[in-house]
Amino acid sequence: MRLVSRVLRHPNTAAALLVAMAWTAATPALAEEAVHSLEGTWQGWIVYAEAEIELDFLVEIAPDANGKLVGSIDVPSQKMEFYPLTSVGLEGHQVAFDFHRDSERTKNAHFLFTGELSDDGTRIAGMFKGWADDDGRNHVPFTLERTGDATGERAPVPIQPLHALSPAGDELVQAFNAKVDKVRLVLLLSPT
């Protein structure tokens, strides 16, 4: 079972969340505390070179039965989904979370995010230390925006229709010319 789902479905966690929500609605100070929190779903980018090499990723954080923050990370380009975070921490506005994973060169390599939570609690910006790109950069900026609550769920993957192409590409040529009144962008890519 996915880590965060397991956390969220624990009866103690559910009860604690209900109490917290009631107190938060009644108490402005507690509402402010809710803003100053890492709990939720966050989406963003690891930026090796702006507009050139960026990895999109998603982090989901929630408290476990003991109130300790736990979480998971998705990095689609690395085929990672619900990958468990080793640790999650918030001290003041300083944020840190990490995971361990075998890399090409290192077994159980350490991947670390350190950053700062914005005053309104909607954004985290900082530095990521992990995969190196072709130029050897492995300590690069990242940003995350809060997009919702931690649910342990993912929207269905939007698989699109895929058309078979003959070697000469007749189907593409026909489709290309059918849109002659438009600006057209043709991409030739590997799916892996």
Partner: protein, 134 residues
């Protein structure tokens, strides 16, 4: 990043995107291409799968590659350009890791700038949509 810098940045309906997924590394299959289509879920995007390199070779020639297949290319074509016997020379292109000028390496912001320039251009006089296939 094409989704971030192109599709999400440019809502224009007079943009059409064609993605040719293929065996750039020599081992990809159609089964790899199907989930990859989810990276570009936009009604303006048409996805194609080819198990051969002919399209990449044709695309490579269109940007001046010699003895190198044109995988990892981003080819922009203005209104009115038609694909005839050979792949048309693009109005603008970018690449990743090809033997092409470094200033044409993929950059989402530069790609969008060129795309917006082409969108502002009217179609050449006399250009019209191809008749629907019979």
């Amino acid at each position: 990043m094409v989704r971030k810098y192109v599709l999400e940045a440019i809502p224009a309906e007079d943009l059409e995107v064609f993605v040719i997924w293929g065996p750039m590394l020599g081992r990809e299959t159609e089964a790899d291409a199907k989930p990859a289509t989810a990276f570009l879920p936009d009604p303006r995007v048409q996805h194609f799968w080819t198990p051969s390199h002919e399209m990449a070779e044709a695309a490579g020639k269109s940007v001046g590659l010699v003895d190198e297949r044109g995988w990892d290319l981003f080819l922009l074509h203005a209104r009115g350009v038609r694909w005839e016997a050979t792949a048309p020379v693009p109005s603008y292109y970018q690449h990743v890791g090809r033997s092409l000028p470094k200033e044409r390496r993929f950059n989402g912001k530069a790609l969008v700038q060129e795309l917006e320039r082409l969108l502002r251009q009217a179609a050449p006089s006399g250009a019209a949509a191809a008749p629907p296939a019979s």
